[in-house]
Amino acid sequence: MTGAVATVPDRTAGPGPAPLSRSRRLAGPALFVAVGLLLVAVAPAVLSPFRLDLLGKYLCYAIVAVGIGLAWGRGGMLTLGQGVFFGLGGYAMGMHLKLREAGPGGLPDFMVWSGVESLPALWRPFANPVFALAMVVLLPVTVAVLLGLLVFRQRVRGAYFAVLSQALAAAFVILLVGQQGLTGGTNGLTNFQMFYGLDLYQPGDKRFLYLVVVAVLGTMFLLAWQLSRSRFGQLLVAVRDGEDRVRFLGYEPAVVKTIAFAVSAGMAGIAGALFVPMVGLLSPANLGIVASLELLIGVAIGGRFSLAGAVGGALLVNYAKTIFSEESADNWIYLQGAMFVIVMIWAPRGLAGLAADARAAVRHRRRPPSRSVAAPIPSGTPSANGSAPPGSADPVDPARPVDDARPADQIEPTGVPAVAAQRGEEPA
């Protein structure tokens, strides 16, 4: 009755998360270790340097995918501007590397042919390797926090947020392109030689860089995994499924969303910073609307509700793009487009959803996977007019394990807050 902000210690007695059978509990870590071994030990041995470079590039995209999985899959924020954060991290790193290799007068090559005579003040601090590394994370996080607080506090969400984040990507590209002397314009930053002592022209050093990318991906994955199994992760899912209801749990959903958004932005920034030495160039084309959509589509295809699905999807989509376009330079767009359409229609929860259904079918033998695949799932944000999406009458997928913390698991959003309807808001 006092209502004091007393903190209550957790009781140690009583049931924790439901115990799982040992094999199921080990499945996730086993998969993690298996994929890790494959990437660390098998891939470098089997693949040619060219293919290993490509795999490294896909892994950079997979790092972004982990962030998207967090922001979109868990948090329901359909971010179409992830390229912006990727770009901010990438440019921070690219600027540093360019300064390291600057020609006469300490100017990067493109400034010379753009007619810039002295190094712009904006560039100077990036000569410091530590500053550059810090900016790789801080720049995207800052932009994400600013944007997040501006739009989420105003309860801009769903399609509105999607369109705004897309416009952000468009505006960012235009800004970058317009400042040719500062950013290299459409060309972007190209022709990198060294990366923190690694010679990017040496296959051995390049392989080491690849391993760094694998390690970063693993770390980011574990970070996102821990976040989503924590209370914060539950809160995030709660915000996704009933943002307005969360206010009445004493939380400002805008803050919860902004944090998740900022974390995903930071991951994208780190991915961009690794992309630069891995691929050897960064241009506005890598961060525009199309690039941002491609980042997203990988997550959608892999399965946005599963972090592992997001990673797998990013790898698969980029691999498919390479292979399709190599096999059929004239018609690969058809293949790519068809892949998106088919997956979105027939596997709305992505390949990870299919896998979960298959598992469930094997385990229960009571519901064929086709039914739950065809069952529509609600979008990441609640439809605020209170219309329950079809299928939400039976919102609990038998495939959903009690413990939702394991990365490969599915958390489907449902939740149809009546609060929103009372506020007279439009469907988002």
Binding site: W113, G178, N191, L281, E326
Partner: protein, 407 residues
């Protein structure tokens, strides 16, 4: 084995298979490309999708035509040329990726490709690193001379400077610069401003619009306010269509305010609509109407292969020439080996649709004749001036005193 663990293993095995399949894609027999075997592989790398496909698809067509013709005439070194076509997808990193693929997977002898400066800048380190050859067929902004790139389009002193000379000759005292916001227009305009300052011309304004921009009424209004004697237009692609349509409907005539365009060729004229651009000037090294038997056969062959309604244009011709110049160099070198070809290429001279072109061994650009053309109502371009003889390429404009300090 517990059931839960089996699945990850299955996935791991599947992933291993996938990876090894990728590895297998590196067919060891692909090494045949560079000379052994019965064919010589060459790469063709242009955007076949995305926004740049508008321009690049026909360049690929012209390059394939040249390969077909050379093969019909017996190929080079007794072998047929086998093109490997890749899509740059209007995306610069993709250009770099595919260039690397052509070099290390397909082991091609050379690559013909690129259009935008950005795609060239993205590919440049790939070719330099692998010591492989790129033939780049489009006019560009100069200030570059990579030992592993051959530039068969015009550099600035073969297109922009003659265009300015022509305007000066016509007594135009004031100009307005309109361009797309990317590297070529910005660099070109820097050169134009230096030229104008040295030649008593005033630059009344400089406007850049984003690539793909289609709303030009404000730019046209600025032109109306500034009233320049002429407009120097470095817009690219789609934007030209919108610009000329809107320029015309605003009542500005070519007679009152002529524009000189450096990225509008026969092909673009079709898309703009000849009636919208008739009477305006363009600066190139080749037109479909350029006289000469060699051009007649080129135009005839191109229409024969791709349809009578097709037109030929400067970048297509430059791509077509690039294949012939490479083949000529290979014949002279007696090998497709890169250093040998580079060495042999110096001074190679060829009768091409645009006239005689010669490779300048110094910078791997080619001597080209500059031509100013007037767009005709039928969509063709009539030459109104030419430089008389091929101009020596000077990518850094070292021979122009007013240009010191530009690079």
């Amino acid at each position: 084995m517990p059931r839960g663990v089996r699945k990850p293993l299955v996935m791991a095995v599947a992933a291993a298979l996938l990876l090894s399949a990728t590895g297998c894609a590196e067919d060891p027999t692909a090494a045949s490309g560079a000379g052994s075997g019965s064919t010589i592989k060459v790469g063709i790398l242009h955007s076949l999708s995305g926004t740049m496909a508008i321009s690049e698809v026909t360049v690929r067509d012209a390059e394939l035509l040249a390969i077909e013709e050379i093969n019909a005439a017996g190929g080079v070194l007794g072998k047929k040329i086998e093109p490997v076509v890749e899509d740059g997808a209007s995306d610069w990193p993709t250009f770099a990726e595919k260039a690397q693929k052509l070099i290390s997977q397909d082991k091609v002898a050379t690559v013909f490709g690129g259009w935008t400066s950005a795609s060239r800048k993205a590919m440049l380190p790939v070719f330099e690193r692998n010591k492989a050859l790129l033939w780049y067929p489009v006019q560009y902004e100069g200030l570059e001379s990579s030992p592993y790139i051959f530039y068969t389009g015009a550099t600035t002193n073969q297109q922009i400077v003659p265009g300015l000379d022509y305007l000066k000759e016509q007594g135009k005292k004031s100009i307005f610069l309109v361009g797309s916001d990317y590297v070529f227009p910005r660099t070109a305009n820097k050169i134009i401003k230096a030229y104008a300052a040295a030649n008593g011309m005033t630059v009344l304004g400089e406007e850049y619009t984003p690539l793909g921009h289609t709303e030009y009424s404000t730019v046209v209004n600025k032109l109306q306010q500034a009233k320049p004697d002429a407009v120097f237009n470095t817009l690219n692609g789609d934007s030209n269509v919108a610009f000329f349509k809107q320029l015309r409907s605003s009542g500005i005539t070519a007679a009152a305010m002529p524009t000189v365009s450096v990225s509008v060729a026969e092909e673009e004229v079709v898309g703009i609509g000849p009636e919208n651009v008739a009477g305006h000037l363009v600066a190139w090294n080749y037109y479909q109407t350029t006289s000469g038997a060699r051009n007649d056969t080129f135009v005839k062959a191109f229409k024969g292969k791709y349809g009578a309604a097709k037109v030929t244009s400067d970048p297509m011709e430059a791509g077509y020439n690039a294949v012939y110049l490479w083949a000529e160099s290979v014949k002279k070198a007696g090998s497709v080996e890169v250093e040998a070809v580079k060495k042999a290429s110096a001074g190679i001279s060829l009768e091409t649709p645009e006239g005689t072109v010669t490779i300048d061994g110094e910078n791997q650009h080619v001597f080209k004749t500059a031509r100013i053309g007037l767009v005709q109502p039928d969509g063709q371009i009539k030459e109104v001036w030419n430089s008389g003889k091929p101009i020596k390429p000077d990518p850094y404009l070292k021979g122009y005193p007013w240009a010191t300090g530009l690079s």
